[in-house]
Symmetry: C2
Subunit: 407 residues, 2 copies
């Protein structure tokens, strides 16, 4: 199907001609509502008129920034990578990825399950809502996707083929390089977005903190060059939809083959920022205790599940039977997992620090209305972020992370 931009009027007609969508709706008449509140893409909710519980989401990228209009061109290739990543992750961790009904890279179009019973995880965390299954879910998702797209599982030719499919996601990787690892640490026009100015005392302290910035660059270099596994690339709590029983990952348009610790670190940074929000704003100790437990469980379960998958793998690009004995494999694995933990902590630190001034703050911190409390929260975010970034390769256990957060 050649590329044409769909709108509320044309989308139903086009979708009716797609066999997978027609199958889903049967003979029902369908109607479309535009629901996208994102900056980038058009998103339509397509429902059966007679049975509104039957619904799918159609998401299309346009060759410009949706929120800004045609005057702001932006390659619609981002949808190519979102499609490829969704299909890859659906295969690896089906319970945590929405059902995909149809994809077309040519049309930059994706038709998928409507998660009508789920909400954005960040929204609920701000309300102090707890999800007892979250750590179990997300640790499975992370272990399955990261392990199975790495050289610890794949053969070399499979790994290189995977890299080929994502290597050219240049535009969105560059956004991360700039907006997570560079601009937030210097006076830059893209900072200072919602009243948090480049010239506050905290900003000036960060911009002048050269030892911190050297470490950030170390992590930036890892981000750019360390091709461990296929990443979501932007796994914050706004990219997760949850209800009491289920957890779904969405919006993986930043996907590329990068360091193991980056997705886990993104998640850790968001849980930490929610913890700081509740410390400063609500004092909700029950929620805070659950957050610490969730952080601990997520990291510990991730390691257990990742190692279980590894133990079950005899042959990969890295290892073949007969090379190491089992004691030696264990010792190798232990050091390897420690490396993942180090990177996780370092990336979490960068992902936190970038939220203080950089473009696109998180609601947990930037959304605090009282300017005094917001400043306190920002101070605390930087305090923790700085420990994470400066000490990332010297923090060797999950308990040390928890201690830092409590401290």
């Amino acid at each position: 199907m050649a590329y044409t931009i769909l709108d509320k009027e044309s989308v139903c007609g086009v979708l009716s001609q797609i066999a997978e969508v027609a199958d889903y709706f049967g003979d029902d008449e369908i109607e479309a509502t535009e629901i996208g509140d994102g900056n980038l893409n058009f998103v339509y909710l397509i429902r059966s008129v007679s049975d509104p519980a039957k619904a799918v989401i159609a998401k299309q990228a346009v060759p410009y920034l949706r929120i800004a209009g045609e005057g702001f061109p932006l390659s619609r290739e981002r949808m190519t990578y979102e499609i490829r990543a969704l299909l890859a992750f659906k295969e690896l961790a089906p319970d945590f990825v929405p059902d995909i009904y149809y994809t077309s890279e040519e049309m930059s179009l994706l038709v998928m399950e409507y998660l009508g019973d789920h909400v954005i995880f960040r929204t609920r965390l701000l309300e102090g809502k707890q999800y007892p299954h979250f750590a179990a879910h997300i640790s499975s998702y992370l272990a399955e996707t990261l392990f199975h797209t790495s050289s610890l599982f794949l053969q070399s030719e499979e790994k290189r083929a995977l890299m080929d499919r994502f290597n050219s996601n240049t535009e969105l990787c560059k956004l991360t390089e700039d907006f997570v690892f560079t601009f937030p640490y210097m006076a830059h026009e893209t900072n200072d977005s919602d009243g948090v100015a480049n010239n506050t005392p905290l900003a000036e302290r960060i911009f002048a903190d050269m030892p911190f910035k050297e470490r950030v660059l170390e992590l930036k270099y890892k981000f750019m060059t360390q091709a461990d596994a296929l990443l979501h690339g932007d796994l914050h709590t706004g990219s997760l939809m949850v209800n009491a029983e289920e957890t779904y990952m969405i919006d993986p348009e930043f996907a590329f083959v990068g360091p193991f610790g980056f997705d886990i670190g993104a998640l850790l940074s968001n849980l930490v920022q929610n913890y700081i929000h509740h410390t400063i704003v609500t004092g909700n100790e029950t929620h805070k205790a659950w957050l610490l437990e969730t952080i601990r469980d997520t990291l510990v379960l991730f390691e257990q599940k990742f190692l279980a998958l590894w133990d079950a793998t005899e042959t990969s690009a890295l290892m073949i039977p007969g090379l190491l004995n089992s004691e030696s494999k264990k010792s190798y694995q232990q050091k390897f997992m420690q490396g993942i933990l180090h990177d996780t902590i370092g990336f979490a630190g960068c992902k936190m620090a970038r939220r203080i001034f950089g473009i696109a703050g998180v609601a947990d911190i930037r959304g605090i209305e009282d300017p005094v409390l917001r400043a306190q929260a920002q101070e605390r975010v930087f305090e923790v972020a700085r420990v994470f970034v400066m000490e990332y390769d010297r923090i060797n256990s999950v308990e040390e992370i928890i201690t830092t957060l409590k401290g």
Copy 2:
């Protein structure tokens, strides 16, 4: 030009129709001699009949292993990567790469300068011949090629485009993964090539040396995942042609984007093995002293030249002006260069150890005719290799390397 296999009879006719080759020879009649002693490709020397000093080399890959015949299929894509690498390196370090007259990926064909006045570096090193300019040359070649293909110089989109051009050199990368980092450390049918059996006491010691093998796997993982810069990929002393005044790199068919330290480590390992050869076989102290000086100069000059290029670069994928101050940039650079040295030492250790039993030994060691001396040399190779592999990230200066070699 569609792919056809050239032979001694057809090669002159085909080459005459290539404008660049026709320009070179003018109206001269040309003749071809097959000179390839390689295992993989056909190599022809094309000369002017009237003026044999006018000559070029034509190199063509066939879809099988040349030495074994059509019954042993092998993708001729290797020539695609050799062509791409030669063109890239010629642009970056023109003094150290033969002139390229014509390339065709479709024909798997390369026409280049005939280095009639040069000999294989390894051959001359075995004879105890010294090349006073070598360290200056190779350090320039390494600094220019590695720096300019890294994220310290390129922009992100350029780096990703470069990776795209080499990412699929899967077959040859796999050869290195298997034959440098895996098979030589276990009983494997591909070892035991020229009378050096899997069941010698030294072999058994290596195969049982689990701490050593864990470290080898650490380095193998870096080789597979650390995308620093475009590498030659097989830069041993047999891939270098020299005379008193000039140094040329040849045969970069293993090229891919990998860790900085791999090419430098390959070179270091070969110089060390030549040092061990002369220690055990000839006792040529003048040559040994020159080798130590060459190792020292190569590593020190490489670092100086690499840093000079870096100092002259304000903007890259990694850094932009205003992010670090100059003192801080120096401190970042120092740590970065130490990382390159560590990897260099580790990879040198693997490249040495693999030569003891693995397929494709080096003449410096495996070619020692007296079995007692050869066994001594092999013991010493492993002794040094083991220090390099076990201590690679704790050896912080070139002088420590020299001390290890003298020890």
